[in-house]
């Protein structure tokens, strides 16, 4: 029997029970659509994370102060305040390959302008910070080394904070805001950077010289974090190694004492973040895959019903000379046609869903041909797998019995 004829026969059989075919295929449609949409969303999130990391600099190493735990309560990383300005200076002085270093002090602060006020993240850093973080300026510019030396009351404002206080970013320039009652002059507005890997709005910030932050606002003498960048093209691992050695020496860490700091490269953080989204993608994808299998069971069920219903037809076909394989192929092709059509519709629905989700919730969605081809082939395979048993059942019918079937 020619394939064209077999396909015609299959299509006709499916058309005869339009509603039933649609409902049966629905399992596959939903499964495939779910796979496409889920993987699209997962990959989108991954791509976004990767992009953010790249924008933050892939040559960045972060040193965090260790945590303290007292009476069962842990302060969290950076809480111990074991890093000092001297550490930062020593790193800059002694580690080869270090391009720029900035001490970082952070704290929440209420910033007010006129009768407007806004709670934001206060970041005390050196001017190198903007280079390390690859942060550009929308208006104005960074503060200088001199500002650091004099603990100048100057500030660079993030886009979100500027909008909250001034309504538009450019208006912030030259204004004087109060940070915990200390007046600071805005000398620069940062370019928009968006949400971070961890989901916080990076533009919701006020950046001031670390000296000003430590003396005038936060009143601390230690650093929760030191950030540095490594010269272009230099591998991070040896630098990380030397950093660890230097700090061990300076902090007198021996074999009997745990380090009171830890070193992480941006790369490691990136790997962690992408690993998380990879796991999410796989999880979502496999849940969707389960629904494909459920859809396949639906197909098997309906094919079994169909074989029983059409016992007489099978008997007629056998009597006039169809071989067992002709019948097997007929029902198998019918199952594959059903599941493949479901797959095609599912791909369309999945792409549509992904598009709607990305525009409605501004989720980043990344659709690649890979999952589409995979989902379609998988749906066809589901048809073969779950269609085989009913088809074989049909093919092995006894023509005499089948012809007698009412």
């Amino acid at each position: 029997m020619r394939f064209r004829v077999i396909f015609q026969t299959a299509f006709r059989a499916l058309r005869r029970n339009k509603m039933r075919s649609l409902l049966t295929a629905l399992g596959i449609i939903i499964g495939v659509a779910a796979v496409i949409a889920m993987v699209g969303i997962g990959n989108g999130a991954k791509a976004q994370v990767e992009e953010q990391i790249a924008s933050m600099g892939d040559n960045v190493i972060l040193i965090f102060s260790g945590s303290v735990s007292r009476g069962g309560t842990s302060s969290g990383y950076g809480g111990a305040g074991t890093l000092t300005l001297e550490d930062a200076a020593a790193i800059k002085r002694e580690i080869p390959g270090v391009e720029a270093v900035t001490p970082e002090v952070q704290g929440g602060a209420r910033v007010s302008f006129g009768n407007q006020n806004w709670s934001t993240r206060l970041n005390g850093v050196s001017p190198e910070f903007f280079d390390i973080r690859r942060w550009t300026f929308a208006h104005g510019g960074p503060f200088t080394e001199r500002d650091v030396r004099t603990s100048a009351k100057v500030a660079v404002i993030g886009n979100t904070t500027a909008l909250q206080l001034f309504g538009n970013a450019e208006a912030a320039l030259g204004q004087i805001v109060r940070v915990r009652r200390v007046p600071f002059t805005i000398i620069g507005v940062l370019g928009v950077k968006g949400a971070s890997v961890m989901g916080t709005d990076q533009d919701d910030t006020l950046v001031i010289p670390y000296t000003s932050a430590m003396k005038r606002v936060l009143g601390t003498k230690t650093l929760p974090r030191i950030t540095l960048s490594v010269e272009k093209g230099r591998p991070l691992a040896p630098v990380q190694e030397e950093l660890t050695q230097l700090l061990q020496q300076r902090h007198r860490i021996g074999p009997d004492r745990d380090p009171d700091y830890f070193v992480r490269s941006q790369e490691e953080i990136a790997t962690m973040a992408t690993a998380t989204s990879k796991v999410m993608t796989m999880l979502l994808g496999s849940i969707a895959g389960v629904s494909l299998i459920v859809g396949g069971i639906g197909i098997m069920n309906i094919m079994l019903v169909s074989v029983t219903e059409r016992t007489r037809e099978i008997g007629i076909r056998l009597a006039i000379g169809a071989r067992g394989n002709d019948i097997l192929l007929q029902f198998l092709i019918e199952a594959i046609t059903l599941s493949s059509l479901g797959g095609i519709v599912g791909v369309g629905l999945g792409l549509g869903t992904a598009k709607i989700l990305s525009s409605a919730f501004a989720w980043p969605v990344s659709i690649t041909p890979g999952p589409i081809i995979f989902a379609f082939l998988f749906s066809a395979a589901v048809g073969i797998f779950f269609g085989f048993y009913p088809a074989r059942k049909a093919a092995s019918l006894d023509p005499i019995e089948a012809l007698r079937y009412e």
Partner: protein
């Protein structure tokens, strides 16, 4: 055995039921020559249906040998049986057994789809049209069985049975579901086909129907009870003239 289409030699067939084996056919030996028109008669349980299934290569005898058109078919595989049915035997059933929701033409084409050597779609189409024309239904080629009368459906079934040029036409109670006039029309077609040289074997339990054949084999308890030529054969055309209402539809070829 000059030109035997069918030769049965001591055919036996037993079925295994729950309690004991049932011997449906107990040693049948007979020969049917090319060009014969044979009616197999018998009450239900006489073994005529079982014999019919064996003749039609739908079933295998438990013992004995069976030759169809010179080929020993006693030990063929399932697929070989299929091919044999496809090329050498045309079936006509009591309940027509056409595919529902499928046009008359496509029903007639169906056996050609299962041929090992397929014709082109156009050749198939033309041949099916010729066959429908022969049974006087070319005007209804696109009708589905539900839109055809019983007699018309049976004529489509006959066209289907003949499409692959079989050596044997097997009819199982072909008039069982038809009224008298239509029955005579169908039997008339068989007589004409037989005159053209096609061997016809027909199973029936009605003596009136059997009288259209040339030879009557009566089965009883799994054995051949009598095997006699028909002396006063009924001619379908004469019979129709005696019946009231319209004449036999025109048949070309």
């Amino acid at each position: 055995m000059t030109d035997a289409i069918i030769r049965l030699d001591a055919i036996e067939k037993s079925y295994h039921t729950a309690d004991q084996p049932v011997l449906a056919v107990r040693g049948v030996t007979l020969t049917i020559e090319r060009g014969e028109f044979v009616a197999i008669m018998g009450s239900s349980g006489s073994g005529k249906s079982t014999l019919m299934n064996i003749l039609g290569c739908l079933d295998r005898p438990t013992a004995g040998c069976c030759w169809l058109d010179g080929v020993d078919v006693s030990h063929l595989t399932r697929d070989e049986f299929s091919d044999l049915r496809n090329r050498k035997i045309g079936f006509v059933f009591q309940s027509f057994n056409l595919l529902a929701r499928t046009s008359a033409l496509e029903n007639v084409e169906l056996p050609m789809l299962y041929r090992r050597t397929t014709l082109s779609a156009r050749e198939q189409h033309e041949k099916a049209m010729r066959m429908l024309d022969m049974v006087g239904l070319s005007a209804r080629a696109d009708h589905t069985p539900s839109r055809l009368s019983g007699g018309q459906q049976q004529r489509v079934a006959i066209a289907r049975a003949l499409i692959n040029d079989p050596v044997l036409l097997l009819a199982d109670e072909p008039t069982g579901n038809l009224d008298t006039r239509t029955s005579v029309e169908i039997l008339g077609i068989f007589q004409r086909l037989n005159e053209q040289g096609i061997t016809v074997v027909m199973v029936t339990h009605e003596t009136d129907v059997a009288a259209f054949a040339k030879r009557i084999i009566v089965m009883r308890d799994g054995r051949v009870r009598s095997d006699l030529p028909v002396e006063q054969r009924t001619n379908a055309e004469e019979e129709l003239r005696n019946l009231p209402v319209e004449p036999l539809p025109e048949m070309s070829a």
